[in-house]
C-alpha cells in the first residue's frame, strides 16, 4: 500500500503551490516573509522557551536530560465550520467516555447487553477493581480529556487515541500562542483567531464545579510527582495560572478520611485535587505499596466523598488501546447515534483472522503495543527495516493479545520550516475537552504535533517531534462570517497584543 499522497492543510492537495482559497492570506504571509526571517523568529521563540525552562525530560537520555520541544513558526489553521463539526464529535465522544466509566464501575449494562466481551474489561490491567462501586462527586470521571486526532482529507478526521487519564500538552498550546502573538502579530490581523488564554480560568471553574457537595468555597490544588517529572513545567504552569497550590504527595496528609495540606500555619483542608500522578502511584494503601509519590489514605477519602480527584482513578479502562477499537460501539451504545468522529480502522491481533492479516501485511501497517505510549514499542511498517519487521513478527506470534495494528494513514501535512526552507511535514492534533458539572467544553485550539523528519509519521516529542500553534478561526477565512460554535463559553474575541 505504501504512503499515499497526503492532504496539505494549508495548500489543499499535496504538492500544490497555491493555498486553499480560504487561507490565501497565509499564502501571502509565507510569500512575503523570507525564510531566514521565519527562522529568526522561530529561534527567538525557542530561546524564550529555554529561558523560561519550558523543557521536558527524555527518559533514557542522561546527557540531554532537559530539552525544549522544537517549535515551528508556521501555524496550522482550522476554519470555523471544520472546527464546529470537530467539536460536536469531540463532545459526543467525551460524553460517551464518561458514561462508559460510570457504567463499567457501576451497573455494567454494556457487558450485560453483550456489546463488549467481559474478559476485555476484567482481564485488562487498566481496570481497577479497587475502585468499583465508588462514585465520584457529580458522577464525572474524565474531567480533562485530550483526544488525539489525525486528518487525511478536507473532511476526514479520525480519532487515533483517547487520553482520559492525565493528558499533557496544554501548556504548549498556551505558550505557543503567546510566542505567535509576540512574533507574528500580523497573522492575527489577517485572521480572526479564537483565543485560548482563558483555559486556566475554565479549568479552575471545572475543578470548583465538581467539588464535593456542600463545600461552599472549595480549596483546589494541583498534585505533581515533583520537579523531576517530565511534565513538571506544565504542572507548575497550570497551578500558577490558576492561582492554586502545587503540592507533592509529602505535602498532603489524610486524617479521618479528610485530605489536608501542610502549610506554615498548620493543616488546611483540601477539596479538589487535579492530580498529575498515575493511578498506580496515587495511594500506596490501595495501589502500588512501594509508591513514594502517593498519599496514603487518599482513595479512602475519595470513596468517602470528601475529595474530588481529576481525573478519577480507574479511567485507564476507557483510553486503553485494547478498548479503543470498541469505541464506535461504545459511543453508539451511550449516545444512541452514530459516532460523529470515526476511529482509525484497527485490527485486534487477539482475533486470529486479524492477526493473520497483520502478519501478512507487516510492511504496510502500524503495529502498537496495547499498553505502550509515547511512541515506544511501535512498528511503522513502511519505514521499518527488515530486521525490525521480523522482531515484531516474532513478538506478535508470541503474545498477539498485546498488540493492535492500523493501516498507515496518509496523515495530513502542514508547511514547516526545514533546513532548505518550507516543506510539508506530517501532523496530528490533540484538542482538550473539559467536563464539569455544568457541561462539556471544547477549547478552541489544541496541540499540533509535527514530525520534523521528512516523510516521518512519528510526531511524539520523545521521538524528535515538534509543535505548532493551532489557529481556530471564528469565520471561514477570506472574510466569510461564521462564529465558532461556542463550546467554550461566550463568543471569543481575540485581543491584539499583550498587556504589559
Amino acid at each position: 500500500m505504501g504512503i499515499r499522497r497526503a492532504f496539505d492543510e494549508i495548500m489543499g492537495k499535496s504538492g500544490s503551490m497555491i493555498p486553499r482559497s480560504e487561507l490565501a492570506a497565509l499564502g501571502e504571509w509565507i510569500e512575503s516573509t523570507p525564510s531566514n526571517e521565519l527562522r529568526r523568529r522561530q529561534q527567538s521563540a525557542e530561546a524564550t522557551f529555554r529561558q523560561l525552562g519550558i523543557t521536558f525530560a527524555v527518559y533514557g537520555e542522561s546527557d540531554a536530560s532537559e530539552r525544549i520541544i522544537p517549535f515551528d513558526i508556521v501555524p496550522r489553521i482550522f476554519l470555523a465550520n471544520e472546527w464546529n463539526r470537530l467539536s460536536e464529535g469531540l463532545v459526543q465522544r467525551v460524553e460517551a467516555i464518561n458514561a462508559f466509566l460510570h457504567d463499567i464501575y457501576g451497573e455494567r449494562r454494556i457487558l450485560a447487553e453483550g456489546v463488549l466481551p467481559a474478559d476485555l474489561i476484567f482481564g485488562n490491567p487498566q481496570f481497577r477493581p479497587e475502585i468499583a462501586g465508588i462514585r465520584p462527586p457529580h458522577d464525572i470521571w474524565a474531567h480533562i480529556c485530550g483526544i488525539d486526532l489525525v486528518r487525511t482529507g478536507p473532511d476526514d478526521f479520525y480519532v487515533l487515541e483517547d487520553n482520559a487519564r492525565t493528558p499533557s500538552g496544554v501548556s504548549y498550546m498556551l505558550e505557543n500562542r503567546e510566542a505567535m502573538l509576540r512574533l507574528c502579530p500580523e497573522l492575527f490581523r489577517s485572521f480572526r483567531v479564537a483565543a485560548v488564554d482563558s483555559y486556566p480560568d475554565k479549568l479552575l471553574e471545572t475543578m470548583k464545579s465538581v467539588a464535593p457537595i456542600g463545600v461552599a468555597s472549595p480549596v483546589c490544588v494541583v498534585l505533581t510527582p515533583g520537579h523531576y517529572n517530565s511534565a513538571y513545567y506544565e504542572h507548575s504552569f497550570l497551578a500558577d495560572s490558576m492561582g492554586v497550590e502545587l503540592v507533592e504527595a509529602a505535602d498532603l496528609v489524610v486524617d479521618d478520611d479528610i485530605v489536608w495540606m501542610r502549610t506554615i500555619a498548620g493543616l488546611v483542608k483540601v477539596d479538589v485535587i487535579y492530580r498529575r500522578i498515575d493511578d498506580d502511584y496515587l495511594d500506596p494503601l490501595v495501589f502500588r505499596p512501594d509508591s513514594m509519590l502517593g498519599v496514603p489514605g487518599l482513595i479512602a477519602a475519595y470513596a468517602a466523598g470528601n475529595v474530588a480527584l481529576l481525573n478519577a482513578p480507574g479511567n485507564g479502562i476507557a483510553d486503553d488501546k485494547a478498548i479503543y477499537s470498541y469505541m464506535p460501539e461504545i459511543v453508539k451504545f451511550y449516545s444512541g447515534s452514530e459516532p460523529k468522529l470515526p476511529n482509525v480502522e484497527t485490527w485486534r491481533c487477539r482475533e486470529p483472522q486479524a492477526l493473520k492479516y497483520v502478519l501478512d501485511n507487516l510492511k504496510d501497517v502500524v503495529v502498537k503495543l496495547v499498553d505502550g505510549s509515547g511512541g515506544y514499542g511501535m512498528l511503522v511498517g513502511p519505514t521499518a527495516t527488515k530486521a525490525e519487521i521480523e522482531t515484531f513478527r516474532a513478538a506478535l506470534i508470541a503474545e498477539p493479545h498485546r498488540y493492535i495494528a492500523q493501516p498507515t494513514l496518509a496523515l495530513s501535512t502542514v508547511p514547516t520550516l526545514a533546513d532548505a526552507g518550507l516543506a510539508p511535514r506530517h501532523v496530528d492534533f490533540r484538542p482538550f475537552v473539559l467536563t464539569g458539572s455544568k457541561g462539556v467544553q471544547v477549547v478552541p485550539g489544541g496541540l499540533t504535533r509535527v514530525a520534523l523528519k521528512e516523510g516521518s509519521l512519528v510526531v511524539n516529542s520523545s521521538q524528535g517531534g515538534g509543535t505548532k500553534d493551532s489557529f481556530v478561526l471564528m469565520d471561514n477565512g477570506a472574510g466569510e462570517q461564521a462564529q465558532v460554535s461556542d463550546a467554550f463559553g461566550q463568543a471569543q474575541v481575540q485581543t491584539m497584543g499583550q498587556p504589559l
Partner: protein
C-alpha cells in the same frame, strides 16, 4: 503557604546569596593573586578555600593550589558544596520546586545564572574567570531586582530571610579566616601585602568605597572590623544582616500570625550587636567572637525551620 514551599524559598535565598558571595570572593582573590608576588598568590587561593570551608575537599582532589585549579574548583566543580555551580544548581532546584511562587523574572535570573555554567569545563585565564564571575553577579543582581518587584508577601520574605541568614554567616567566615591578616602578631603592619589583603576583604563584601565614606582615613584593622561587624549602614555587615532578619521575621509574624522562638532569638541577637563595640571585640578575641556568632546564626536557622514547620 505550604511548609515545603516556605522551606524551598528560604533555601533558594541562602543558595543565591552563597553563589554571589563565592563569586565575589573569587573575584577579589584573582585581584589579590595578580598583585602579590609568589608564593603569596598561592596563599590567597588557600585562604579562599578556607573561607568556603573547602580546603579539605580540595586536598582530596590531589591537585596543587594554583590559580587555575582553585578557581576552577570554586566556580565549576559540582562535586562539593562550596562551588558556585553547586550553589546555583541547588538554588535552581529549589526554585523549580516552587516555580509557582516565583515570577518569571525571578526564575529567569536563576535559570540564566545556571545556564552560564551549563557544560562549561574550565574557568580559563584570569580575564575569563573575571568574566565568568561577573556574569554570575549580574544574574544574582537581576534576581535581587526581581524579588523586590514581586508581591510583598511571605514569598519574598522567606527568600530574603534565607539571604539575610546566609549573608551573616558568609561575612563572619570571611572575617574569621582573614583575622590573622587584620590582627597580625609580631609582623610589620601597613606593608603592601597587608593593604592588598584588606582591600580584598572589603572588595568581597562590596565595601571599598563605603569604607572611604565612613572612615576618612587610610585602612586600619580596627575600622575594617568595625565596618564589617557593627555598622548597619553596610548591607553585608553582621549588624545589617541581624537587623534584616529581625525585620523580616516581624513582617512574617504580622502577615501570618506566626511568631515564636526564632523571633525571640533574632531580637536578642540584635540587641546584643547594637551594644557591641569593635574595640571590645578585638580585646576579647575576634576569632572567639566570630565563632560564637556563627554558632548563634546556626541556631537561629534551626529555630526558623521549627517555627515555620520546614522539613
Amino acid at each position: 503557604m505550604l511548609s515545603r514551599t516556605a522551606s524551598s524559598l528560604y533555601w533558594l535565598g541562602r543558595y543565591v546569596e552563597r553563589a554571589d558571595f563565592i563569586a565575589r570572593l573569587v573575584e577579589a582573590t584573582v585581584r589579590l593573586d595578580v598583585l602579590s608576588p609568589r608564593p603569596a598568590g598561592e596563599a590567597a587561593w588557600a585562604s579562599a578555600l578556607a573561607v568556603t570551608e573547602t580546603d579539605a575537599a580540595f586536598a582530596k582532589t590531589g591537585q596543587s593550589i594554583t590559580k587555575t585549579n582553585v578557581a576552577r574548583f570554586l566556580t565549576l566543580d559540582a562535586s562539593h558544596p562550596g562551588s558556585i555551580v553547586r550553589a546555583l544548581d541547588m538554588a535552581r532546584n529549589n526554585a523549580k520546586a516552587v516555580r509557582t511562587a516565583l515570577t518569571r523574572e525571578a526564575w529567569t535570573a536563576i535559570n540564566g545564572a545556571w545556564l552560564v555554567f551549563d557544560r562549561r569545563a574550565s574557568a580559563g585565564n584570569a580575564t575569563a574567570t573575571l568574566n565568568l564571575v561577573e556574569s554570575v553577579k549580574a544574574e544574582t543582581r537581576g534576581f535581587e531586582g526581581a524579588i523586590h518587584r514581586m508581591l510583598r508577601n511571605q514569598t519574598t520574605w522567606f527568600i530574603r530571610l534565607g539571604q539575610a541568614i546566609e549573608r551573616a554567616d558568609n561575612t563572619a567566615r570571611l572575617l574569621d579566616v582573614k583575622y590573622h591578616i587584620l590582627l597580625p602578631e609580631g609582623e610589620r603592619v601597613g606593608g603592601v601585602v597587608d593593604r592588598d589583603q584588606w582591600t580584598t576583604i572589603l572588595q568581597t563584601v562590596s565595601a571599598v568605597t563605603a569604607y572611604r565614606w565612613l572612615y576618612s582615613e587610610g585602612l586600619r584593622p580596627a575600622n575594617v572590623i568595625d565596618l564589617l561587624i557593627a555598622r548597619s549602614e553596610l548591607p553585608r555587615s553582621l549588624a545589617a544582616s541581624v537587623e534584616e532578619a529581625v525585620d523580616i521575621l516581624n513582617l512574617l509574624a504580622k502577615r501570618t500570625g506566626l511568631h515564636g522562638e526564632a523571633d525571640r532569638m533574632a531580637r536578642a541577637r540584635h540587641a546584643r550587636i547594637a551594644r557591641t563595640r569593635s574595640g571590645q571585640v578585638i580585646a576579647g578575641g575576634l576569632h572567639q567572637y566570630l565563632q560564637g556568632f556563627i554558632g548563634e546564626n546556626d541556631q537561629l536557622h534551626e529555630a526558623v525551620g521549627r517555627q515555620f514547620k520546614f522539613s
